[in-house]
Structure formats: C-alpha cells, structure tokens
C-alpha cells in the first residue's frame, strides 16, 4: 500500500527558530537579551540610492588631477577654535571600558594619520587616547563617569550626548563582566557590578535647560571648544531645531543602525529611525532656521563606504561618523578567530556579545590576554587605509557628478531604487520625477 504523502516540515514565519530560541532563552534567564552592535533587521538604507553622474548636461572632473576637496570645519558658529578636518569622516564615540585600551589607541592613531577626530565615550578620557588623537571630542554623558574639568579643557570639542541611534530615549546596563579595576576606578564603581546608566542628564532636562548647560560648558572652556549635540534618530526635525535653539555648534545625528556597546535587543531592533530617513528632516530644520552649513550636521549609523559618505553628504550632511566600521577595520569580527567565535556559539560576522568582554579580536574586551591581540600601530594603519579608501571613493563620486568639493553634492545628484527610499530620502524614484508625497508623476 502506498504511503500517504506528507507535507514538508514548515517553520512558522511568525514563530521562526530564532523567535523560539529567544522565547526559550527569556524563559530560562528572566532577563531581556542584551547585546552590542546595531540593528540587524533589514532597513531602507543608502544602498537604495544611486548617483546620476555627469554626461551631456553636466561635466565631470578628471579623476586624481582636478581637485576635489574633502576638508570640513566643524564648530564655526560660536567656538573660538573650530575643528578643521581633512576628511568628512570622523570616529564616533566609543568608551574606554567598552573597548580595550589598545583598541582606543588604534582608533586615535588611525584617525590622526587620516587627519580626522576621534571621540571618547561613557567612561571618561584616558591618557592613551588623548595622547594618540590629535583631535579628540569629549563626550559629556548622563552618567558623567570620569567627568572632570581638566579633561574638558584638554579636549578639542565637547559632545553633549542626548541619545544614540541604537537606543533613543534609553539609558543602559553594562553587565558586570567588563567592570575591571581600571574601568571601575575611572567610573567610581565597585568592580564587577552591573553598570546602570541613566537616560537623562542628572542636572538638566529639555532644551531650555540645555541652553544654560551649554553656557556653563563654554564658560569653563573659555568659549574655545565647539559644542556638539548628539541625538538618536527619532524626531530629527524637532531635535535638530531645538539643538540649534539651545546653542549647539554641531548636531550629531545617529540613525538606528548605529552601534552600541550593550543595550537591550528589543530597543536596538524596535526603537528609532533609519539613518536614511533622518537626514532630510534634520537638514530641513537647519534650512528653516537659516543655519544649514552654519551649524554643521554630522550623520552616523551604518556608514560603510565612500558611497555611503557621498550619499549622506548629498542629502545635506556636513560630515559622517563611523563606529562599527572603524572597529571592523581595526580587526573586530575577523574570520581568522573563527574557531573562537564558534566556541562562543556564534560566527565572526554574527558576534555581538560585546558586553561580555570575551571578544576574540581583543577589541570589545578588558581581558588582558585578549587585548594583546590588537597591535595599536598596525591596527591604526588599517584604520588609516580604510579612511583613505572611503575618502577616495567619496571623491570619485563627487568628481563624476562634476563637483570640486564633496560638500557640493546635492540631493538632485541622487535617485532612489525603491519607493521607500525615494520617500525617506526625498529624491525621485529612478527614471521618474516622482518623489512620494512631494511631486506628481
């Protein structure tokens, strides 16, 4: 007798193996999943935009011979000493504590060679990073770990952190494994405990108070340092406008692809605005206030290549900032540690337990043995190379569009491949003059 045919085993889309695994994990531990890195879901991104390039109606510049400037000056509004960068790509805030000392040093070395700035993080400024970063932006965070006026004064700029793209509106919780003696000393915390970070600053709330906080910071630093305001992508039009009203020199806008050292997965994946969708509203706010290019806009969150840089600039940013990409450049997620990633139950490219301090690459760890794997000089050179490639790529695109400065890229140089990207970036769908919500067919 013939067997009755069976249907194939069919996994539920709703209850996929990943979903089921998370339910089992939650049931076993009673704690939400905390991890590093940024969102892993698919989002409309710069990949969905294309440059038109020059042909008959526009004339391109000759590659490598006709100059295409990449310099950018940040902090021209009020600061006596604005920051002049050779390239429009900066290194985003990442703390000593989240990263090992050699990793921080490598970032400083690479950025300095490339003529750009690095940024401290939640945990204060170390002598190593100050020493190896020609231009160092000092983050002023709700926790104020390691915060002191001497470091404030030896910084080149101050970044008041309101939020970050991975968790706009959220504080943090860094599990105890990474709070070593040195990290604990810098943060005035007991060794090995979970570090809970506040979501609001301890001594001001809202832009009207922030204006007064900025006054204090300027008074303490002789009005020399540019004051950046960093916000996570959530309501970029209002946040940018309010940062300007509160007196910012620079607005740093971090989309939801932006990384984090340790945050609840539910936050990373479900809160925030894709980077692509952040830029136009922020630029609109600056334009409405007559402040575009006067208050500089730095965009971050998922920037990987010169194409991404060029697209962010074309949409109106003055510069971009990279975090995750810089870590990969200095050796994070390197497949050469594949066996060790496997031992941790993951793969090189999927590894995200940055908070656990067991990073085989020696970057997101405080383990003295693991961090020896980072050679700051070699890693610094790798970062310099990567920044050079991104810059060359950006110039290549700008020249192809006929621009002698990357800041002359404009939205009209772009088209979108998808309706989503066309709507978010407010550029026409490729081959049409249709911008959803803006123009007719």
């Amino acid at each position: 007798m013939e067997k009755t045919p069976h249907t194939l085993p069919r996994e539920s889309y709703t209850f996929s193996s990943a979903v089921n695994a998370e339910i089992r994990r939650a049931a076993a531990t009673g704690i939400y999943d905390i991890r590093g890195a940024g969102t892993k879901r698919h989002l409309p991104h710069f990949d969905d935009l294309l440059f038109l390039g020059a042909s008959m109606s526009r004339y391109p510049l000759e590659g490598y011979r006709e100059k295409c400037d990449t310099s950018v000056t940040l902090g021209t509004r009020f600061a006596k000493k604005p920051i002049e960068l050779k390239i429009p790509i900066t290194i985003a805030g990442m703390s000593f504590g989240a990263l090992s000392a050699p990793a921080k040093e490598a970032l400083g070395r690479g950025a300095t060679m490339a003529g750009t700035s690095t940024t401290t993080g939640d945990g204060g400024m170390t002598d190593e990073e100050r020493g190896h970063s020609e231009k160092l932006v000092y983050q002023y965070l709700p926790s104020r770990y390691g915060m002191n006026p001497d470091d404030l004064r030896r910084a080149d700029a101050i970044e008041v952190v309101i939020g970050q793209g991975a968790k706009p509106g959220g504080g943090g919780m860094l599990l105890g494994q990474k709070i070593t003696q040195r990290v604990a000393d810098m943060r005035n915390l007991p060794v090995g405990i979970d570090q809970r970070s506040a979501c609001r600053h301890p001594d001001w709330t809202g832009p009207d108070d922030l204006e007064i906080k900025i006054l204090e910071l300027r008074e303490i630093t002789n009005w020399e340092k540019p004051i950046y305001i960093k916000v996570g992508g959530s309501r970029p039009y209002y946040d940018t406008a309010l940062a300007v009203k509160a007196g910012a020199d620079v607005v740093v806008l971090d989309g939801m692809q932006g990384g984090t050292a340790a945050t609840q997965d539910v936050f990373i994946e479900n809160v925030g605005l894709p980077t692509l969708a952040c830029i136009r509203p922020a630029v609109q706010a600056l334009q409405d206030l007559g402040m575009h290019r006067k208050v500089q806009l730095v965009v971050s969150g998922g920037i990987r290549s010169g194409a991404d840089v060029a697209k962010a600039l074309a949409l109106g940013a003055d510069a971009v900032s990279i975090g995750t990409a810089a870590l990969i450049a200095i050796g994070e997620l390197d497949p050469k540690w594949g066996a060790e990633y496997a031992a941790l139950g993951t793969t090189a490219d999927a590894y995200d337990d940055w908070h656990e301090g067991r990073d085989p690459a020696g970057i997101t760890t405080q383990d003295p043995e693991l961090m020896k794997r980072v050679d700051p000089e070699e890693a610094g050179r790798r970062l310099r190379n990567y920044l050079a490639v991104m810059t060359l790529e950006t110039q290549t695109i700008a020249r192809a569009c006929g621009h002698n400065h990357v800041h002359n890229l404009e939205p009209e140089d772009l088209v979108a491949l998808t309706m989503e990207a066309a709507a978010m970036a407010q550029v026409p769908l490729a081959g049409t003059n249709w911008i959803p919500g803006k123009t007719g067919l």
Binding site: I31, I193, E216, I220
Partner: protein, 227 residues
C-alpha cells in the same frame, strides 16, 4: 579684596578673571556683587581663592569647582557645585535641584533646604544640608557622603551604589535598593568630621545611616520590578 559687579561686568570677564588665578596668586579674596540669579557664576575655578557671591545665584554656580571656596550669601539655583572636584562651596540660603550633582570631591554646605535630586549621581563629594532635602536625592549616588540635618523627601537613595547617606530627621520613603544600615564607630567618626567642617550644630549619634542593599548590583529577575 577684588570686587566685581555683575551689574556692570559681563559674566565672561568675571569667570575669565577668576579662572586666571593660579595656586600662587596673592589675590585670594573676591567679592561678586549683584548676581541676581545669573547662571554659571564662578564656574571652572582651579585655584585656592575665596569667592563670595553677595546674593542669589542661578544655575550651576561654582560648577566643576577645584580648590576654590565659593560662598553664596543667598540661595542657589539648579546644579550648584555640579561635578565639583575639590574645594568648598557654602550656600547660606536654599539650594534648588541637583545640588552637588555628580560631584567627585570637595565639600558642599547648604545652610537652608535643598530641593529634589540633591547629590544625584555623586561620585565622592561630601554634602551637608542643614535643612531638608527633596525627592529623588542621592539617586544612583556612587561614593561620598550626604548628611541631612532635617528631613529627606521621597525615594531617598534610589538605585544607590556605595555613597553613605546620614539623615537626622524623617525619611519620607526610601528608593529601590536603599536600606537603613547600622551606624558603626567609623561612621560616627566620618559624620563627626563632616559636621565639624561644615559648622553644623548636631550630634552624630542623632543620625541614621542609609546605604545600598546591593541587590541591584547584578541583575536578577526577582528584582525586575525595582528597575
């Protein structure tokens, strides 16, 4: 004695003059007239000078102070002596929210009452309040001592780390993970010293000590409701 009148001198000039003083200065006494609630008065000082502010101040008076003694003859606005590193700040009147917030060192004395969030996130500063303190005081306080001769408002010491809280009067309520603790001889000694240095007339034995129960130091699902 140098006198600076804020009615006629811009804030920038005032702070620049005070910030320019070095440890070896012989201009050690400064008087600031007509503060009228202005913000960021005497911030970022780093010299052993004595600054008297003759009237009420606005936000962040004596912010990030090092070494200097700042005496406000009046009340202080939000964030007085925020992130102080060392030195002494004395407020004759009341202090608004966030007094001594994130302070790393030094002594802050408030002779009147302090409002909400006094000593929030303190990291080594000592704070003595003659009167009462408001709600959410010593929230996430890490190290240092907070001494209150009067009463404490709601949620004292919420999410506390290792700061010591001494309260003579009543406590409206304790925040998550904050508990009353035994007053041992070493605590009496700390308190006696702080009361003496701040000129407060009180007996150490009359205070109760509060500190962290340390149940939130490492996450456990049984405490999820406390977060």
């Amino acid at each position: 004695m140098q006198t600076i009148d804020l009615a006629t001198t811009p804030l920038r000039e005032l702070n620049a003059a005070l910030q320019a003083q070095a440890a070896t200065t012989n201009q050690t006494e400064w008087l600031i007239e007509n503060p009228k609630g202005a913000h960021a008065i005497a911030v970022g000082l780093d010299a052993p000078i004595e600054v008297t502010v003759n009237g009420p101040t606005g936000y962040y008076c004596a912010g990030m102070n090092k070494q200097a003694t700042v005496h406000v003859k009046g009340s202080a606005g939000p964030g007085v002596a925020e992130n102080m590193m060392s030195g002494t700040v004395v407020i004759d009147g009341d202090a608004s929210q966030y007094a001594g917030a994130t302070g790393h060192g030094g002594l802050l004395v408030i002779k009147g009452n302090a409002s909400s969030r006094c000593g929030i996130s303190m990291k080594g500063i000592d704070i003595v309040v003659y009167g009462n303190i408001g709600h959410m005081s010593a929230f996430m306080a890490q190290t240092g001592n907070l001494v209150v001769l009067g009463d404490a408002g709601a949620n004292l010491g919420d999410s506390l780390y290792e700061a010591r809280l001494f309260v003579r009067g009543s406590v409206k309520s304790l925040g998550s993970d904050c508990v009353e603790k035994e007053m041992r001889p070493e605590h009496i000694a700390i308190l006696k010293d702080l009361l003496e240095r701040s000129g407060a007339d009180a007996k150490p034995e009359d205070f109760k000590r509060y500190g962290s129960a340390r149940t939130l130091y490492n996450f456990h699902v049984d405490h999820a409701g406390e977060y």
